[in-house]
């Protein structure tokens, strides 16, 4: 019920102002990456934007917003496991195989879709407040060091 509601909200929201949301996510994710010390020194953050054919437009928009935040964006339908500092999933169609490989990269995996949090490390939570939602299981599983500050502002994803 809850997810149905969230889904409904998401789509309502998306329908209302997908651009605005993408902009917030772009900005939020960039900051999370920065405070999580994934950023290499004197080097732009590289984000691998993984999308599918249904979400090309959104992916592009996202890429555009990310670039505006000084991020070097790579758009892939298949993730590049070597150079990216983080991955943003602009798709809901991701296989377990990929999922495992992404985890092994020990990079943060973001999803622009809130309902994809179970498969990503960070997504966006839209409630009374709009704030990040983090999946500590996956983060722990990927052995990624997380800045506790994020915990203070983020919603923790709990398994059902």
């Amino acid at each position: 019920m809850k997810y149905l509601f969230l889904f409904f909200i998401f789509f309502s929201f998306l329908a209302a102002n997908i651009n605005e949301l993408l902009y917030i996510e772009a900005k939020l994710y960039t900051k999370i990456i920065k405070i999580s010390n994934f950023q290499k020194k004197n080097k732009k953050i590289v984000i691998d934007l993984i999308y599918d054919k249904d979400s090309v437009k959104i992916a592009k928009k996202m890429a555009k917003f990310l670039e505006k935040n000084g991020v070097d964006v790579r758009m892939d339908t298949v993730p590049n496991f070597s150079e990216a500092d983080a991955y943003i999933l602009v798709t809901k169609k991701i296989s377990d195989k990929f999922k495992k490989r992404l985890l092994r990269t020990k990079k943060l995996i973001f999803s622009i879709y809130p309902d994809m949090i179970k498969d990503s490390m960070v997504s966006i939570y839209i409630g009374a407040k709009v704030k990040p939602i983090i999946n500590l299981y996956l983060i722990k599983k990927a052995s990624i060091y997380i800045n506790p500050i994020i915990l203070k502002v983020a919603k923790i994803y709990e398994k059902d």
């Binding site: 500590l136 299981y137 983060i139 722990k140 060091y145 997380i146 800045n147 506790p148 915990l151 203070k152 923790i156």
Partner: protein, 768 residues
């Protein structure tokens, strides 16, 4: 002193209490601060943990050990106070380090609890700073406060000392105190106290002198009151209290008087009422009063006091002065003013008042009043022979006898030496009056022994009756007087009622005396006539005797016979004497040039001769007219000259010393003693005309005249024969060797101009 001591104790206690209180306050404050700081620290820790609690739990829950450690490390490093954090979950425990202490806080969380171990660094830090500051402040302020306290305490002790000295001060002996401290305020207080002491000393001295003076004045006042026999009193109008001062008037026994009633009990009833009334009025109307009242002592002695009361501030303050002597004197004066001191009978003034009163009563009641004018016969002889003292005794006895025979309603008064007036009120008729006169005469039938000599006094009595003779008091008295004279003329020891003839004489008397007064004022009615005196030896005019004539405007020229007796009765003779003397001086002044050798003789009346200023008047006239006194001959009668010979000799000596001539007039008619005569310093003997005019017929007169001339010759005096009326008499007196002749044979008295002509044309041969 106790207060000051207790003040010092109080200050000490206060200081201790303040310090204790301060320390307690510090302690409590520290305790509170500590408590607060602890709470704050806990709050701070709680706040820090609260913010991190979820994060820490989450990190532990998901087993982010490194992140957890880093987070805790960060918390510890931020907090400084937190030393260790222990997270107890149901399934695991995480402990950051091994640090443990009693200071720990537990925070319940959903899955367990978080225990935080910490140190009280906040308190430590605070107190480190706090104690430093406290120490600094303490080291700075405590010595200051202590010094201040010590200073105040010391000064208070000094003040205490000063107070002790002040307490011991005997301001009668000490005029200043030493300063106990150089402290400005104490010095000022000492100065002020010394100034005050000086003032107190001065005040005491003044007060002492003042008291001394008051005591002195009080004594003086009491003495003065005692001397003046006065006392003062006051009466409190509200409290009705009466007090009396000046109790040293022993005779009044004032010490016994305690109340107003006591005081008033010594007053006569009438005075008591009057005094009470005045006192009440003074109280009610703020008035002053003055009254003379009686004061009767316990010994029943009566005094008179003059009391003056004045209302001052609710009290009537009064002074009472003994005026007994004054009142008695006044009564005596009043008595003397209305009574004869010798016989105590009413005098003329009283007589007039009483007579006036009786006349009014008689007029209203249609009654008669008889006025008896009594004159003692021959009283002068009694005085002369037995002396005035015995004369007075006689008068007293007679007065008593008169009183004894008269009714109480009758009024008797003595109006002169031997004159009495009796008023018989309500007398019926002349018979009744005669009855009274007879009683008076009978009362004197019994002799009065004076110096063992029986004297039979008699009265000449004149009587006038109201309203028969007159309704006027003065007229009635006058009529009675005239009637008395008439009775005396009748031969004494008799009485006479006034009648119409006498009344006529009286009226004539008053008319003449009034006209005489008028004549004296005019100075041209009374003129001098001059009768020549002829010097028989040298056959020339010696001078003249000045004789007064009254050129009466209606009756013509009047000789002295017509008016001198009236003048003597009315006392106008004195004025006539002076008038004549003045005219004589004027005449001689004029004669000085043309008739320097003429001697003017003038008669000096007995009245003038007895005047006290007789000599001084002569001197005065002499100074005014500057005449040769040797040309004025003053004639006194033989009778006058022989009365009171010593007085006569003295006066005549003085007259002679002034240079005037003196003649004894009417010689031979009196009772001259040759012994006395030789003592008198006279120049001329005037032989009375009664001897001269009958010389040719009467051998006795001839012998007497011859003897008089011989006496004069012996005494080396000049002789003047008066009344030479013919040639035969002239021849006789020439043979008798009389020096000067005066009479109608030569000339009658004539006016001045005629006399001057007579002198110029005189030829003695015509008379030989």
């Amino acid at each position: 002193m106790k207060k000051i001591k207790s003040l010092i104790s109080f200050i000490d206690i206060t200081f201790v209490v303040l310090i204790s209180g301060f320390l307690l306050y510090i302690f409590v404050d520290i305790f509170n601060i500590s408590k607060t700081l602890k709470e704050m620290q806990k709050d701070k820790i709680a706040l820090a943990i609260k913010n991190e609690k979820e994060t820490l739990t989450t990190l532990l829950k998901y087993n982010f050990t490194d992140e957890l450690k880093n987070e805790i490390k960060k918390i510890i490093s931020h907090s400084k106070d937190i030393k260790n954090i222990e997270i107890n979950l149901s399934n695991r425990v995480f402990r950051f380090n091994s640090y443990e202490s009693e200071n720990k806080m537990s925070f319940k969380i959903k899955e367990g609890e978080i225990v935080v171990y910490y140190e009280n660094n906040l308190i430590k830090r605070f107190f480190e700073k706090y104690f430093v500051r406290f120490l600094i402040y303490f080291l700075i302020f405590f010595p200051i406060i202590f010094l201040l306290f010590w200073y105040i305490r010391t000064k208070i002790l000094k003040l205490n000392l000063l107070a002790k000295r002040l307490e011991k001060i005997n301001f009668k002996k000490i005029s200043s105190i030493e300063k106990v401290d150089a402290f400005y305020e104490i010095e000022n207080i000492t100065k002020a106290v010394n100034t005050l002491l000086k003032q107190v000393n001065l005040f005491y001295k003044n007060q002492k002198e003042f008291l001394h003076r008051i005591v002195k004045y009080k004594n003086q006042l009491e003495t003065a009151q005692s001397i003046s026999e006065m006392f003062s009193w006051d009466y409190d109008c509200k409290e009705k209290r009466f007090s009396i001062m000046g109790k040293n008037i022993k005779i009044l026994n004032l010490k016994k008087i305690k109340t107003l009633d006591d005081f008033l009990s010594h007053f006569e009833e009438e005075d008591k009422k009057a005094f009470k009334k005045k006192l009440k009025s003074a109280c009610l109307n703020n008035e002053s009063f003055e009254m003379i009242h009686t004061f009767i002592t316990d010994e029943n002695k009566k005094f008179y006091f003059k009391s003056v009361g004045k209302f001052i501030k609710g009290k009537v303050i009064g002074v009472s002065l003994n005026v007994t002597e004054e009142i008695k004197r006044q009564q005596k004066i009043e008595f003397l003013a209305y009574h004869d001191p010798l016989t105590s009978l009413p005098n003329r003034a009283y007589l007039k008042e009483e007579f006036s009163r009786l006349l009014n009563i008689a007029k209203r009641n249609n009654k008669k009043i008889a006025v008896l004018y009594l004159d003692l016969d021959n009283f002068k002889m009694v005085n002369d022979t037995l002396g005035h003292e015995n004369g007075d005794k006689l008068l007293i006895t007679i007065a008593n006898r008169l009183k004894s025979v008269l009714r109480k309603s009758d009024f008797i008064s003595r109006i002169g030496g031997d004159e009495f007036i009796i008023l018989l009120y309500g007398i019926k008729d002349k018979n009744s009056i005669k009855e009274v006169i007879n009683k008076i005469v009978n009362s004197l039938k019994e002799p009065i022994n004076i110096k063992q000599t029986p004297i039979y006094p008699t009265f000449s009595i004149g009587c006038a009756v109201y309203p028969d003779d007159s309704t006027n008091m003065d007229e009635l008295l006058k009529f009675a007087d005239i009637a008395m004279y008439e009775a005396k003329n009748k031969g004494k020891n008799s009485s006479k009622f006034i009648n119409e003839e006498l009344k006529k004489q009286v009226n004539e008397y008053y008319n003449i005396t009034n006209e005489l007064k008028s004549a004296l004022e005019k100075e041209d009615e009374l003129i001098l006539f001059f009768q020549p005196q002829i010097d028989l030896k040298h056959k020339k005019v010696r001078g003249a005797e000045a004789l007064i004539r009254w050129n009466h405007p209606k009756r013509g020229l009047l000789s002295p016979f017509h008016f001198i007796s009236y003048a003597e009765k009315s006392n106008l003779i004195t004025y006539i004497d002076r008038y004549v003397l003045k005219k004589a001086f004027e005449t001689l002044k004029k004669w000085q040039k043309y008739f320097p050798d003429l001697i003017l003789s003038i008669n000096i009346s007995p009245n003038e001769f007895r005047q006290s200023d007789f000599i001084s008047n002569l001197k005065n006239m002499l100074n005014i007219y500057k005449i040769n006194p040797n040309r004025l001959e003053l004639e006194i009668t033989e009778t006058i000259s022989m009365q009171d010979i010593a007085y006569t000799v003295n006066i005549l000596e003085e007259v002679k010393a002034l240079g005037f001539k003196i003649a004894i007039d009417d010689f031979g008619t009196g009772y001259s003693s040759l012994n006395y005569l030789k003592k008198l310093p006279f120049n001329t003997l005037k032989i009375d005309q009664t001897f001269i005019k009958d010389l040719e017929k009467d051998v006795d007169d001839l012998i007497i005249t011859e003897m008089i001339v011989q006496i004069a010759k012996v005494l080396k005096k000049e002789t003047v024969a008066e009344g030479v009326e013919n040639k035969k008499i002239l021849e006789i007196i020439k043979n008798l060797e009389v020096d000067v002749a005066q009479g109608y044979y030569f000339a009658k008295p004539m006016p001045k101009e005629s006399f001057e002509r007579f002198v110029r044309n005189f030829d003695y041969n015509k008379f030989e």
